[in-house]
Amino acid sequence: MLSGYGGQVLRVNLTDRTIEKTELDPELAKDYLGGRGFAAKILYSEVEKGADPLGGGNKLIVAAGPLSGLLIPGAGKTTFAAKSPATGGYADSNMGGLLCAEMKYAGYDLIIFEGISSEPAYLFIDDDTAELRDAKPYWGQGCITVETALKKELGEDFQIATVGPGGENLVKFACISHDFGRQAGRAGVGAVMGSKKLKAIAVHGTKDIPVADMEEFRRIGREMYDYCRASDGWEVWYRLGTAGVNVPSNEWGSFPTRNFQSGYFEEIETLTGEVMRETIVITDKACFACPCACGKYSYSKKWDIHVEGPEYETTAFLGANVAVSDIEDVAYANHLCDELGIDTISAGNVIAFAMECFERGIITGEDTRGLGLSFGDSEAVFELIEKIARREGIGDVLAEGVKHAAEVFGGDSADFAMHIKGLEISGYESRNAPAMMLAYMTADVGGHHNRAWAITYDIEVGRDAITEYKAAQVIELQHVRPLMDCLGACRLQWVELGMPLDYYAPAMKAITGLDRSWEDLLHISERVWNLTRAFWAREVEGFGREWDYPPPRWYTEPVPTGPTKGKFVAREDVEKLLDMYYNQRGWDTNGIPSREKLEELGLDFVAT
């Protein structure tokens, strides 16, 4: 049995309701590690070219990594992946919590869902028992409600992932929810799960995970834990969580405000992590094996609701980006999204887009059935969230995402539809941060920050600079951060607590018994990055450079307010950034990996 792995793959065909167990292929584990690496390889190899993302031919992959479920700080990241219904390209999205640990204790590194069930179903796993069960009683109910009910029915030890009405109604940014407020939120993995009529996954396991060198593993795991606890950043991160970034992001001019019209929200004083801590946070919440507990669990007296968060991204999108400055209103909007099962980032992006269209007269009360859409109107935000999740009225258009909404609304709205590759951009206004902009342009799921949070390099070497160094750092980050998603571990111990990356290769050696350097692991991450790019090139007709462009707002419209006032990245600089990036990656000028690069990375099977 492979050290570090559960050892089995569960393949669930929802159409004919068969469940097959196979041994995990050691070559797959060696060449792709786990998590997103497994997902990318399986999607490329098994999903037929041109498959409908919401059809039976698409697959939903749930993957743990070799660190998942072991006592390494933050080793609780589960990857969900599919061909994206939002973009038509590659998608993976990961969540913290406890799901991947429980999967591995039941003996599974991978669950692959195929086909479509005729009736709502959920997958029940209790060690070697795996069966599809009736989910009709839960269909139509919210994520948190169903998780609570399944815990009551099956037992507290079961770990649950669910979709809500958003996933059932195929909202293109529906999420998958777990642990009462953790989500795989991006690129519509929840819509794929909903399209399969799969309401939930419930898993419980009691087995051991084999470890090659237990003594060395314990030593390294303990040392990593101690490093986190002793870190200078621990106290801050524990107190504020990701919402601690609200203030610096606003000071950098990066806090998306009024549909990214600006990066500076003048009412930040009521949206800080400190205000949140003192007014609504009731406790701290950690994922598996994490000594940091950056999750903040909150209660809003105003709305009488509980919610995990709001996180930085949610405060940005359901706060500043829609110009709502009451933290309790942000918390309520967060609660609605969590229960209905839609991504707060895309929801806040598309609602802000509708507000800007309304204020510019591109859409009117006729389009909204009388609902006024003005920035700062919390009630309108709440109503649109409901309408999107249930696809009612204008919500049916917005549920398709901002790219589609711009096509429907027309006018010049495409110029300020804030997406890349069809995925709504996440929480960093980047007109004075070219490295961050390049990171968004080239992220392999569309406009998302978590593949490379490169704004650090903009600040380090000068905000205006367009340099080869910045392109190189974006590429480096795009290998390091997604490597964590292959390992099944969180990156924040490194990013926020400064934990040296030097720990990971020795930890992997102790766990798996395979002697690989950090560079060896990065090489695998580069392989996965090129494979996801190849997936895009195969699935999206005409895919290339044009798909990496940011929205016109970012290269034509100077920032009107705040510390970055007057700044934007000129179109010729956008082209320069892409030239540098493609060249350094070994891709052609259209952004397609060269045959030499694919072969160097062991991707000979990829068609070009």
Binding site: G233, R239, G244, V247, E274, T456, W494, E496
Partner: protein
């Protein structure tokens, strides 16, 4: 009177004075102190005063305990 204790955290230790914690004057804003120390304000991500997050416009008071926390490079 230098009655405010200021600690540089993480990478900021390499950018500011070798000595940490430092004693600085009350009555000044955190931004003024950051500038006096020759630090790039954008590199100082989070300002903690007596365990609470404050803005850089915060005016230091006697006995305050201040931590300046950087954005972590490479994040």
């Amino acid at each position: 009177m230098n009655n405010v204790q200021l600690t540089l955290v993480g990478l900021l230790k390499k950018c500011g004075p070798a000595q940490s914690p430092l004693s600085v004057e009350s009555g000044r804003t955190v931004m003024e102190v950051i500038t006096d120390l020759g630090l790039d304000p954008d590199l100082v991500a989070i300002v903690m005063v007596n365990g609470r997050q404050e803005f850089k416009s915060y005016r230091l008071q006697e006995g305050d305990n201040v931590k300046l926390v950087p954005m972590v490079g490479g994040g």
